[in-house]
Symmetry: C2
Subunit: 419 residues, 2 copies
C-alpha cells in the first residue's frame, strides 16, 4: 500500500514556512509499515488541488493532505474538496458545539470565522481536532482514501494520533519495513564510510540497505530491510547484530540510536553514575543549556549554565581573571579553562564544560579567524581544553561547537580519563 502527502500552502512555496509536517508523516507512516511514495507541495488554489489529487490517486491508495483549513479568508481547501468528492458543505451542529466548548475552555469569545469551521462536507467522516477548531476530514472514493487536516503541526499530529492511523489500519492491510538509525558525531560522512567499508559491504550482501544522512556536526546511519509476515523478529535480530557490531567498532563516534540526541546520551550517562553537570557558555550563547533542558528530567543532573557573553560576566560570575582576558583574549585556552573551573566551583558539580569562540560573521583576526572555538571540560582532578577550527557560518559554528563539546564530554567520561 502506497501513500502520498499533499501539502497546501503558498507560504511554503515562497519560503515563509518550512514544511515539517511531511517529515513527521513520513516517519509515522513507516512505523505503520506504509510506504510514502512522494510529497507534493502545491499552491492554495482550487485547480492545483484538483490536479494534485488526481495525480496522487494514480500513484497511491492513500492521500494525507495538510494545510488550507484555517479560519481566515485565504483558505479554499474545504470548498475544493467538497467539489472534488461531489458533495457540499453543511453546518454540523455537533462540531459547532465542540468548537464552542473549546473556546469556553480557553476563556475566549467565539467569532463568526470560528463558527464557519463547523461548515463541513456532508459526505466526509469528521476526525475530531481537540487541539484547535479546524476538523480533520476523511473522504473515500473507489476504495481509496484522502484525509484532509489543518497545517498547524500540533493539530495535524493530534488528529493523526487520535484517529488517522487507527482508521487507516482498519481500512487497509499493511506490510512491514524495518529501520534502525545510528547517531554519530565527530567524523565526516566519507571518512566514516572509509572506516566501515567492510561492515557496510557485509550488511548490503545480507540484504540490508544503508544510507548516510549528514547534518551540521552529525552523520546518521540508517539501516533498512523488508520483512515478510512472521519474519519480522528474525530481520530485527539481524539488523541488531550489525548495529551492535558497529557500536563496538567506533564507540567514540556513536552516541545513540533513533531519535537520541547527544544531550540524551549525556543525561543517561550522568544519571546512571549519579554525576552532576554545569555549563559556562560564551559563543554557544545558551544553546548547550537549551539542548540539555530540551530533555525532560534533566534537572536530576543539570544544575545550570552561565551564558557569559561579555567579559564582565566572565569575571563577575565565573571568576575569570582580568589578567587572563587581557593577556590571552576571551577566545583562548586559558580563559575557557578558567570558565569551566569557575562554574564547576561555584555550582559544586562533578563536571563542567565551557565554550569561547568567534562564531562570526564578524570579529575574526588573522590569529583567531571566524570559526575558532575553544572548548573545555573540568573535573575534580584536571581541566582539559581543545581548539575547534570551524567554518564561516554563525549558526553552524554555534551548533557544531555544542555537539562537539557534549560528545567529547561523553567520550572522556566513558574512557575513564578523569578517574
Amino acid at each position: 500500500m502506497k501513500a502520498e502527502v499533499i501539502t497546501i500552502g503558498d507560504e511554503i512555496l515562497i519560503g515563509q514556512t518550512v514544511d515539517t509536517n511531511s517529515a513527521w508523516l513520513g516517519e509515522q507512516l513507516h512505523l505503520h509499515g506504509i510506504q510514502l511514495n512522494r510529497v507534493v507541495t502545491i499552491s492554495d488554489d482550487a485547480s492545483s488541488i484538483r490536479e494534485a489529487i488526481d495525480d496522487s490517486f494514480r500513484h497511491a491508495d492513500l492521500i494525507l493532505m495538510t494545510g488550507g483549513l484555517g479560519p481566515t479568508q485565504d483558505d479554499i481547501t474545504k470548498e475544493a474538496l467538497a467539489d472534488y468528492f461531489g458533495t457540499s458543505l453543511e453546518r454540523k451542529h455537533d462540531v459547532l458545539n465542540k468548537i464552542d466548548s473549546y473556546f469556553k475552555s480557553k476563556g475566549l469569545e467565539m467569532l463568526e470565522s470560528n463558527r464557519k469551521q463547523a461548515d463541513l462536507p456532508k459526505d466526509a467522516i469528521i476526525l475530531e481536532n481537540v487541539r484547535g477548531t479546524a476538523m480533520g476530514m476523511w473522504f473515500e472514493k473507489n476504495g481509496k482514501v484522502l484525509i484532509s487536516m489543518p497545517g498547524v503541526p500540533y493539530e495535524m499530529k493530534g488528529i493523526m494520533l487520535d484517529h488517522g492511523f487507527r482508521n487507516i489500519q482498519e481500512f487497509f492491510p499493511t506490510k512491514t519495513i524495518i529501520h534502525q538509525t545510528i547517531q554519530t558525531q565527530g567524523i565526516g560522512e566519507s571518512f566514516l564510510a572509509e572506516q566501515i567499508r567492510d561492515w557496510e559491504n557485509a550488511l548490503r550482501n545480507d540484504g540490508i540497505s544503508l544510507a548516510y544522512l549528514p547534518s551540521p556536526g552529525l552523520v546518521k546511519l540508517r539501516l533498512t530491510a523488508h520483512a515478510e509476515n512472521g519474519d519480522r523478529e528474525r530481520v530485527r535480530k539481524k539488523i541488531e547484530k550489525y548495529v551492535s557490531e558497529l557500536e563496538k567498532r567506533v564507540p567514540q563516534y556513536i552516541f545513540g540510536r533513533e531519535k537520541d540526541t547527544v544531550a540524551m546520551a549525556i543525561q543517561r550517562l550522568f544519571q546512571s553514575r549519579n554525576l552532576t553537570l554545569s555549563v559556562a557558555e560564551s559563543c554557544t550563547g545558551g544553546l548547550i543549556a537549551q539542548e540539555i533542558t530540551a530533555v525532560p528530567g534533566c534537572s536530576a543532573h543539570f544544575l545550570g549554565s552561565v551564558v557569559a557573553y561579555s567579559n564582565k560576566v566572565k569575571m563577575t560570575l565565573l571568576g575569570v581573571k582580568e589578567h587572563s582576558l587581557f593577556e590571552h583574549g576571551a577566545v583562548s585556552e586559558q580563559v575557557v579553562k578558567e570558565m569551566a573551573e569557575g562554574i564547576r566551583k561555584t555550582l559544586q558539580t562533578d563536571y563542567s564544560i565551557a565554550t569561547s569562540g568567534v562564531a562570526g560573521p564578524e570579529g575574526g583576526t588573522e590569529e583567531k579567524p571566524v570559526g575558532t572555538v575553544w572548548v573545555a571540560i573540568a573535573g575534580a582532578n584536571k581541566t582539559i581544553a581543545k581548539r575547534l577550527n570551524l567554518g564561516k557560518s554563525r549558526s553552524r559554528n554555534i551548533r557544531i561547537s555544542m555537539l562537539s563539546v557534549l560528545n567529547w564530554l561523553r567520550q572522556e567520561i566513558i574512557s575513564g580519563s578523569f578517574e
Copy 2:
C-alpha cells in the same frame, strides 16, 4: 516563467530529515521574480527520478533538483541524470584538481569515493561547489533547464548564490511578484483577523492578497501583489501604505517585518537607546539567551544569562531567598521577580527579564498545572510579573514563553512604563 523543485531522498520520505532546502529555494526564486509552482519529494531511485523530471518539465521551464550527490554508496542521481539527458560520465580533471585542493586546504586525506565526485556528465555545465566536493550540474533540453545540486543546505545555497541565479537570469526573462511580511506576537490568528477586518477588506479591494501564517507564539501576515514592468515602484508604495497603517493600528503586536525576530527588535530598541539587558532563565533553559545571541552584534546590549535550572543556582547566582522558594515554590510571582532583580543587580544592567514555569511533560500540580509560566521584567524603578497559562507541549511552552517575555519587554519599553 515557472519553476519546480525536486527533492531526492528517502531520508525525507521516512522522516529522518526535514526538507529546509525547498523553503529557501522558494524564497529566493520569489526574490528573483520566479514563481515556484510545486515541490516534489521523491525516492532515491532511477525510475522515480526520470518520472519526476518528465512530470515537472510538463508544468515548468526550470527544475531545481537537490540531493542524491553524496560520495557514499547510496547515491544514484548522477547516473540517472546522465542517462536522462543522453550523455555519460567522464572524469573531469579540472574538477578533480579542485576537490584535491579542497581536501588539502582542510588538511584531510582524499579518498577514492571523493575522487569519484569528479566523474560528471560530459554535456553538463559544471557549477562549482567551493563548500564541498559534490559539484552542481546545469542541463539544457528543448529550451528548458535542470540544475542538480547536493542536498547539504550550506553547499546547495552556495552553488545557487555563486552561479545558479545568475545563470537562470541570463537564460530566462522574468516578471515580478512583490511581497511584504509583517511579524506579530501575542494574539491568535482569528482574533487578529477580527480586529483588522476592515483593513483587510480594503487591502483585497486594492488588489493585494493577504495570508495569515501562524506558528507557535507568532502569526505572520504576508501581503502579495503582482507588478507589471515599470509599475513596481507604485505597487511597492501601495503595499507600504497598508503596512504602515497596520503598524500604527496594532503596535503592541507588531514587532517587525520580513525575517525579523523579536530578538532583533529588542536589539534595535536597546542599542538605539543605549540600554543593556541581562536574563535569568529557569523553564526556558537558555532559549532566551540563544535567541538573543543568534543575532550578530548582540554583545553591545546583551551581557549574559544565568540558566538557573536548580533552586541551588537560583540562590547562589541570583540571590533568590530560600524563604521565598520554600513559601511560594520556584514557579511563583515572588521567585520570578527575585530572579529578575538578582541578575539585574549582579550584572548591573538597565533591564532584566526572568522566567520560571512548569514546561512539562511532568511536574504539574492542581494549582500549577503543566503550562504555568511566570515571567518578569525588572528595571530601575520597578519589577513587574505576569502569569502565562500555556499548553501541554514542552517545546511549545518553552518557545512561547521566550517570545512572550521578549515582546512584553519591547511593549513596556516603548510605552514608557518604566520611565
